[in-house]
C-alpha cells in the first residue's frame, strides 16, 4: 500500500465520524469559486497592506511603533470575511436546500434536524478557521511592528472568533424562518443589514481595544464580566440551536420543549446573576447599605420581562392537543410527567410555564423585600409584580385570542396568532397616548386610563406615587381574570399529560368518524412485529 493510499484510507475512516453535511459542504467549498475568491481576496489584501506598510517604513526615519495603525486594516479584512461572508454563506446554504427541494431529501434520511443545523454550522466554522489561519501571519507581522499588547491582540482575535461562531448560528436560525420566496428576499436583506452593522461594531470595538490597550487583565471585574458574558453566550447559543431545530422539525413532532427549556435556563440565569449582583452590592460592603441601587435591577428585569414575555406568548399560543407522536414519547412515570408538564407543547401548558416561573420570581422578590429596610423595597417588589402581571396578561390574552380565532377558522395558525397579538398589544399601548395627543391638554389625571401602556404604568408603580397602589390593584385583578379565562385550558393541559386524558380537539370536527385501525392491520408486513401489537399511548 502506497503512502497516499494509506492517507486516503485514514482520511476516509476519520470522515466516517464526521457530520455528513460537513463532509459534503467541505468538498463543495473546496471546488466552489466563491470560497476560492474570498480566500484569494484575503491573501491579496493582506499582502497589499503589508507591502504598503513596508514601503512607508522605508520612507519614514522615525522608529515609532506602527503596529497599532496597521492592525485595523487586517482586522477589517478578517471581520469582513468571518462576520459577513461566512454567516451570510451559512444563511444562503440552508436556504438553498429549501429552494432546491433537497431539504426534504435530507429530512427523510436518518439525519436529525439538529444534525442538519450542526452540519451547516460546522461547515461555516471550517471556513472561519481557514480564514483565521490565512490572516495569522499578517497579525504576527503586526506584533513585530510593535505598539500592540500581545494579550489584548489574542483576546480581540478570540473574541472575534467566538462572535463569528454565534453570528453564523444566528444566521442559520434566521434562515429557517424564510419559507416563501418573498420572505427569503426580505429576510436576506434584513440579515445583510444586520450583519454589516455587527461587522462595523466588531471592527470598531476590536480596533479601539487594540489601539488603547485598554483591557486591564489584572482587574477581577474583567473576569466577572467575562463569566457573565460567557454564560449568556452559551445560553443564547443553545437557544438559537433549539429554535433552528424546532423550525426544521415537523409540526407533529415536539417543537416546543427545547425552546421552553432553554428559555427557562436564560430566565434562571438572569435571576441568578441578579441575585449575586444584588448580594454583592447590598451585603458586599462592610455594613449593609441602606439604599438599594434600583436602576440596574429595574433595567435587568425589564429586559428579562421582554424576553420572558416573548417566550410565554410563544408557548401559550401553541395548539392545545399533544400530537400522537409526542404522546408516544411521554415518560412512563407519572411524577416525571408532572414535572415535565410546563415544558411540553400546548398552549395551556405554556400558561403553566408562564405562571410557574413568574410566581417563583414574585416569591423571590418577596423574600428579598423582607431582608431589606429602605423605602425602595416596596417599590422593587411592586415593580417585579407589575412586570409579571403584564406578562401574564399579554400571554393569557394571546392564548385566549388564539383559541377563539382557531375555532373560528382553521386558517389561523399559531404563527398568525402571535403576529396578531403583537399588533394588538402595540395598538393597546398607543391608544391612550394618541388620545392624550388628541385632547391636546396634557395627560388626564386618572392614571388607570394608561394601564395598557406598560412603560407608563411601570414608571408610576416603581416611583411609588399616589396611584401606585391603584395601578397594582388593577393589574392584579386583570392578571387574575386572564388566568381564570385560561384556567380550564391549563387544567386540561395538565390532565392530558399527567392522567393521559385526551381533551376534545380545539378545531371544529370536520373529519368523519373513522373506525379504529384493526389490530390485524397494525400487525403489518414484518412477521416478527406481528407478535407485539403497536404500543398504545395509554400504556
Amino acid at each position: 500500500m502506497s503512502e497516499s493510499d494509506f492517507i486516503n484510507r485514514w482520511a476516509e475512516q476519520a470522515s466516517d465520524r464526521l457530520n455528513p453535511i460537513l463532509v459534503k459542504e467541505t468538498r463543495q467549498a473546496l471546488k466552489s469559486k466563491q470560497f476560492l475568491a474570498t480566500f484569494a481576496i484575503m491573501l491579496l489584501g493582506g499582502w497589499l497592506i503589508s507591502a504598503f506598510v513596508l514601503m512607508s517604513m522605508i520612507g519614514a526615519n522615525d522608529e515609532s511603533p506602527i503596529g497599532k495603525n496597521v492592525f485595523p486594516w487586517y482586522f477589517t479584512l478578517l471581520s469582513f470575511t468571518v462576520m459577513l461572508v461566512v454567516p451570510f454563506g451559512a444563511f444562503r446554504s440552508l436556504l438553498a436546500e429549501r429552494d432546491l427541494n433537497t431539504y426534504e431529501l435530507l429530512n427523510i434520511t436518518t439525519l436529525s434536524p439538529q444534525q442538519i443545523v450542526w452540519g451547516k454550522w460546522l461547515s461555516a466554522q471550517v471556513q472561519t478557521f481557514i480564514y483565521f489561519s490565512a490572516i495569522s501571519p499578517f497579525v504576527a507581522f503586526t506584533y513585530l511592528l510593535r505598539g500592540v499588547d500581545f494579550p489584548t491582540l489574542i483576546f480581540v482575535l478570540l473574541a472575534l472568533m467566538f462572535a463569528s461562531m454565534l453570528v453564523a448560528l444566528m444566521s442559520l436560525t434566521f434562515s429557517t424562518f424564510a419559507r416563501q420566496r418573498q420572505a427569503q428576499v426580505v429576510l436576506s436583506l434584513v440579515l445583510l443589514g444586520q450583519l454589516v452593522w455587527i461587522m462595523g461594531a466588531s471592527i470598531t470595538t476590536g480596533t479601539l481595544l487594540v489601539s488603547r490597550n485598554s483591557i486591564d487583565f489584572s482587574d477581577p471585574a474583567v473576569y466577572w464580566g467575562g463569566l457573565v458574558i460567557g454564560t449568556y453566550y452559551v445560553a443564547l447559543f443553545v437557544l438559537c440551536l433549539q429554535i433552528a431545530r424546532a423550525q426544521l422539525t415537523f409540526e407533529s413532532d415536539n417543537r416546543s420543549t427545547g425552546i421552553r427549556l432553554s428559555g427557562s435556563a436564560i430566565f434562571w440565569l438572569t435571576i441568578g446573576w441578579l441575585s449575586i449582583g444584588f448580594h454583592q452590592g447590598y451585603f458586599g460592603g462592610t455594613s449593609p447599605s441602606t439604599n438599594l441601587a434600583t436602576e440596574p435591577i429595574y433595567s435587568t428585569l425589564s429586559v428579562l420581562a421582554v424576553f420572558w414575555g416573548a417566550v410565554c406568548v410563544f408557548a401559550a399560543t401553541e395548539t392545545e392537543t399533544l400530537s400522537r407522536r409526542v404522546r408516544g414519547q411521554l415518560p412512563k412515570n407519572p411524577l416525571v410527567r408532572l414535572i415535565a408538564v410546563p415544558f411540553l407543547p400546548g398552549g395551556g401548558r405554556g400558561m403553566l410555564l408562564a405562571v410557574g416561573h413568574l410566581a417563583a420570581l414574585i416569591g423571590l422578590a418577596f423574600l428579598v423585600q423582607r431582608s431589606l429596610h429602605g423605602p425602595d423595597r416596596v417599590h422593587a417588589m411592586n415593580f417585579t409584580s407589575a412586570v409579571s402581571c403584564y406578562i401574564i396578561i399579554y400571554a393569557g390574552l394571546a392564548a385566549v385570542m388564539g383559541r377563539w380565532l382557531r375555532s373560528a377558522t382553521p386558517l389561523f395558525r399559531p404563527a398568525q396568532t402571535r403576529a396578531f397579538a403583537i399588533v394588538m398589544f402595540a395598538v393597546m399601548w398607543m391608544v391612550p397616548n394618541i388620545f392624550t395627543i388628541l385632547r391636546g391638554s396634557g395627560r388626564t389625571t386618572n392614571e388607570l386610563l394608561y394601564l395598557t401602556d406598560p412603560v407608563h404604568s411601570l414608571v408610576r408603580v416603581s416611583g411609588g406615587g399616589p396611584w401606585a397602589g391603584k395601578i397594582m390593584m388593577a393589574l392584579s385583578i386583570a392578571a387574575s381574570l386572564v388566568v381564570l379565562l385560561n384556567l380550564r385550558t391549563m387544567l386540561r393541559g395538565l390532565a392530558e399529560v399527567v392522567l393521559l386524558r385526551e381533551p376534545p380537539p380545539d378545531v371544529p370536527e370536520v373529519i368523519p368518524d373513522i373506525e379504529p385501525v384493526s389490530s390485524d392491520m397494525r400487525r403489518g408486513v414484518m412477521l416478527d412485529s406481528a407478535v407485539a401489537p403497536e404500543p398504545s399511548t395509554t400504556s
Binding site: 432546491l100 433537497t102 434520511t109 382553521p410 386558517l411 373513522i514 397494525r522
Partner: protein, 335 residues
C-alpha cells in the same frame, strides 16, 4: 392478445391477499384549510407489486405520497409502511422507505459519486458498508461511467437515474416514486421502466408509482389506484379494475378504434352523426368509440365510412386499456 397484456405477463401476478401488505393506507385524510386534498383514501400494496397511482393534476397524488414518506402528516386516518405507522413511527418508516419526489434540485460542485456518498452517510452507512452501498447503486443504475461527472451537468434521463439511485441507497423495501418518468424521452422512459420492473420482480420490492402518462403505467404496473379530487375511484389489480369498472358505452356495445391519414375532424363529425355510435373520443389522428352492432354491422360501418370520403387507414376492435378505465371512472373534477 394486445401488446399491453403481454408486457404485464412478464411480471408476476399480484401476490395472494394473505401476504401482509407493505403499504397500507387507512382512511387517510389531508385537508389544507377547506381544500380536501386527500379525502378518505384507503388501499394496500404488497411486496413484489408495482402499483400505479393515477390521477389528473391536483388529484392528491403528491400529497398522499408525501404523507407516506413522512414528509407531511395526515389530518386524520393513518398509513402504514412495513407495519409502522407514518404518524407514530416516522423513523422506522424512513429506514425502509425510499421516496423520489417529483422534482429535486442538484447541488453544485458535487459529482455523482460524492452525491451518493453523501446520502449513504446521511443514512448512517460507515466505511465498507458505505462503499458497498454506493457500488451497488452505481452498478444497478449503470451510472459507473459517469461517477466523476458533476451532477448539475447530467441530462434529465441520467438525473432521474441518479434520483432513483439515491432512493435506493439504503436498500429500502418500499419505493414511492412521484412521477419518475415526467420529462423523459421514450428511450429513457423504457430504461427507467425496466429498472423499476427489475426492482419488483428480482428484489421483491414494493413500488408505488404515480403518473398521468397512462400508457407508461399500464406497461409496468400490475395494480393501480385511480384518484380524483382526493378520493379513490377504483383500486386493485389491473384485471380486477378492468372487470369491475362500469363500461363506458351502453351494455352490448363494442369498443372500436379508427385511424385516419389526416383530417380527424371530418371523422369526428361523421361519427357523431351515426345513430349506433356513442362515447366518441378523439385523439391525434384516431378516434375511439362504442358501437352497438354485430360484426356484419361493423363491416357495413367501415364501408360507409370509406364511402363518406374518410381516409381510413386502420379499423379495429380494441381491448380496454387502463386509459379507458381512467376515462371511464374520472369525471374531470378539479378543485
Amino acid at each position: 392478445m394486445t401488446e399491453e397484456t403481454t408486457t404485464t405477463a412478464t411480471l408476476d401476478p399480484p401476490p395472494p391477499p394473505e401476504v401482509a401488505p407493505t403499504i397500507e393506507l387507512h382512511h387517510l385524510h389531508r385537508f389544507f384549510g377547506n381544500l380536501k386534498a386527500v379525502n378518505d383514501v384507503s388501499f394496500r400494496v404488497h411486496p413484489g407489486e408495482v402499483m400505479g397511482f393515477i390521477g389528473p393534476n391536483g388529484a392528491g397524488k403528491t400529497t398522499t405520497m408525501r404523507i407516506l414518506a413522512t414528509l407531511d402528516v395526515p389530518t386524520a386516518g393513518d398509513a402504514f409502511v412495513g407495519g409502522y405507522s407514518v404518524v407514530d413511527k416516522p423513523d422506522d418508516v424512513r429506514r425502509i422507505l425510499g421516496f423520489m419526489p417529483d422534482s429535486f434540485g442538484k447541488y453544485q460542485n458535487v459529482n455523482v459519486i460524492e452525491y451518493l456518498d453523501f446520502f449513504a452517510r446521511a443514512y448512517g452507512f460507515r466505511g465498507a458498508a458505505r462503499r458497498d452501498a454506493i457500488e451497488r447503486v452505481l452498478e444497478f443504475t449503470e451510472l459507473g461511467k459517469l461517477a466523476e461527472k458533476p451532477i448539475d451537468t447530467l441530462s434529465k434521463g441520467m438525473s432521474q437515474r441518479l434520483g432513483l439511485g439515491r432512493t435506493l441507497i439504503h436498500d429500502p423495501q418500499v419505493l414511492v416514486l412521484d412521477e419518475p418518468a415526467a420529462g423523459l424521452d421514450p428511450r429513457a422512459r423504457v430504461e427507467l421502466r425496466e429498472l423499476i420492473q427489475l426492482l419488483a420482480t428480482e428484489l421483491n420490492k414494493t413500488v408505488l408509482i404515480s403518473s398521468h402518462i397512462l400508457t407508461e403505467l399500464s406497461e409496468i404496473c400490475n395494480s393501480a389506484a385511480i384518484i380524483e379530487a382526493g378520493q379513490i375511484l377504483a383500486s386493485g389489480s389491473r384485471d380486477a379494475i378492468m372487470k369491475g369498472h362500469r363500461r363506458i358505452g351502453p351494455e352490448g356495445t363494442t369498443a372500436l378504434e379508427v385511424r385516419v391519414a389526416e383530417n380527424v375532424e371530418k371523422l369526428q363529425r361523421w361519427l357523431l352523426e351515426q345513430p349506433r355510435i356513442s362515447a366518441v373520443r378523439i385523439a391525434e389522428r384516431h378516434a375511439r368509440f362504442e358501437f352497438a352492432g354485430n360484426e356484419a354491422d361493423q363491416a357495413q360501418l367501415l364501408k360507409s365510412m370509406i364511402e363518406a370520403g374518410i381516409d381510413v387507414i386502420a379499423f379495429h376492435g380494441r381491448a380496454e386499456s387502463l386509459e379507458d378505465v381512467f376515462m371511464a371512472v374520472t369525471k374531470g373534477i378539479t378543485q
